[in-house]
Symmetry: C2
Subunit: 289 residues, 2 copies
């Protein structure tokens, strides 16, 4: 049955699938210097942000992505004091990061200020920590910023980027991971969203090979649901500089004094469980490196 | 951007979302005595079975559902010899069940023989164990069959049903769970698909209350991705008769001599991890019982 004009539909490139949300109003349509940013109201998913035709954030389900891009990596680091977020202009990841009292400074570097302006207006809850004294928001090129970051100056880098096509493509290369490796202190962690385990296994392979080429000593993938993104099943991949990803601060996760909607220590452990097909694929990538 | 006629789209009732697959051909369209069964070929998902307008099975992603409806419950039972599958006419669950050497008899009871006939033609891989001497396929009313099953005659009941609206509604009632409880031996397990954790929490609550009303001594939910179903995030809920769901035959799961694509013992443990919002909701349901 065909969908009428009230539906926003994203076709998933090369996947032969599409996801649609029923909208009630178009709230704004901005062509920034970098991309087209559309905002909608929907019947059941709250506000919806679309960038260059791809669904990015909805009020209803963004907690899954934002919590899983921040809490697992932060509780996997022994003492995450200095955090950088590359991208993340909607500020939802920044909010989760700043829930951690150990974090002394969190810098968000997104090239497009208009994304943050739209988030402030339509997702104010995601922006509630933007004025935290530990936060710094920059609207400049994140790759350039990482390239210039002093060696060993960061504990955690969160790459909250768009897909690895177009402007986001450089974020999946060995050169970018080399810059991350240099900017991280020993034991430092970089996490990057790594697409759908079902649809994008070749992208995950490329990420692993890039992380290994950049001399990260360990790399693991976590898995979580994300209805708004292709297949509804998503992943993030963590690389560790001069250390391993064998454990996490489980007691701290259990004692955390902030609210979460998805994350807890059981979910932390569970997210790292590898589906059988992925376990075999990852073993092959590591063996053939 | 609108989808042309080559896309099959399912609108998700009451959820304001829709999922579409790009088709290349319509292979068949059968109105059985019970429902309309459509088969399509798709660009990227293999064959697609649609029943009464709802996407049911695709070649590409059915492994997630069929493995998670069978292996966790079977490895959670100490000695699963006698298994019944209510529904499951595509035979994919039956195939997974029969991979377990402990299973001595597996009866599949689906009211609609035409579903199995379509699966035999378009999903022959799912039907490869239909002639296993341990298998029995019946096309009669599954609820009637369970009501008449001798007390204590089953170890595991798998309810591989349609959604709890229309014909499937009775499968989510205390009366049905009472019949399951009676048919199970001590330590017996019933598992039923329990919809999307994000979209259908009230249905999960109803299932828990029905299981408790039917005197099941423990109940747990497992979570897994399922791109074809609303939100791409799905669940199944297990009830235990006179026992607990605290452990599973982990060593047997590790030593299993059959192939899986998603399931392994790490995924087994991970699937039972409760998202924070669900952990709180379930605790409330149990406390207010």
């Amino acid at each position: 049955m065909a969908l009428d004009d009230s539906w926003f539909t994203e076709q998933h490139d090369g996947a032969g699938s599409a996801f649609s949300l029923k909208t009630t109003a178009k709230l704004s349509d901005v062509q920034s210097d970098y991309q087209r940013i559309e905002m909608f109201d929907t019947t059941d998913w709250g506000k919806l942000m679309v960038i260059d035709g791809c669904t990015m954030v909805s009020t209803r389900d963004n907690f899954l992505y934002h919590e899983m891009m921040s809490h697992p990596v932060l509780f996997s680091h022994a003492a995450p004091k200095r955090v950088a977020i590359i991208g993340g202009g909607d500020c939802g990841t920044l909010r989760e990061v700043l829930k951690h009292p150990e974090v002394e400074r969190a810098v968000q570097i997104d090239i497009d200020e208009q994304v943050t302006r739209a988030a402030e207006k339509y997702f104010p809850e995601l922006c509630e920590s933007n004025h935290d004294p530990r936060a710094e928001l920059l609207w400049i090129d994140g790759i350039d910023w990482i390239n210039k970051a002093p060696a060993g100056s960061l504990d955690v880098i969160i790459v909250d980027s768009t897909d690895p096509i177009g402007p986001g493509e450089v974020l999946f290369t060995p050169a970018f991971y080399n810059a991350c490796h240099n900017a991280l202190a020993d034991g430092g962690l970089v996490v990057q969203q790594s697409e759908s385990p079902l649809l994008h296994l070749p992208i995950l392979e490329k990420m692993y090979r890039s992380l290994m080429a950049a001399r990260f000593s360990d790399a693991r993938t976590l898995f979580f649901p994300q209805p708004l993104y292709p297949s509804g099943w998503w992943s993030a991949t963590i690389g560790c500089k001069n250390g391993t990803l064998d454990g996490f601060r489980e007691a701290d996760a259990d004692r955390r004094r902030f609210d979460t909607h998805y994350y807890n220590s059981a979910i932390h452990r569970a997210a790292f469980a590898e589906p059988e097909f992925f376990r075999k694929a990852r073993a092959d990538w590591l063996a053939s490196n």
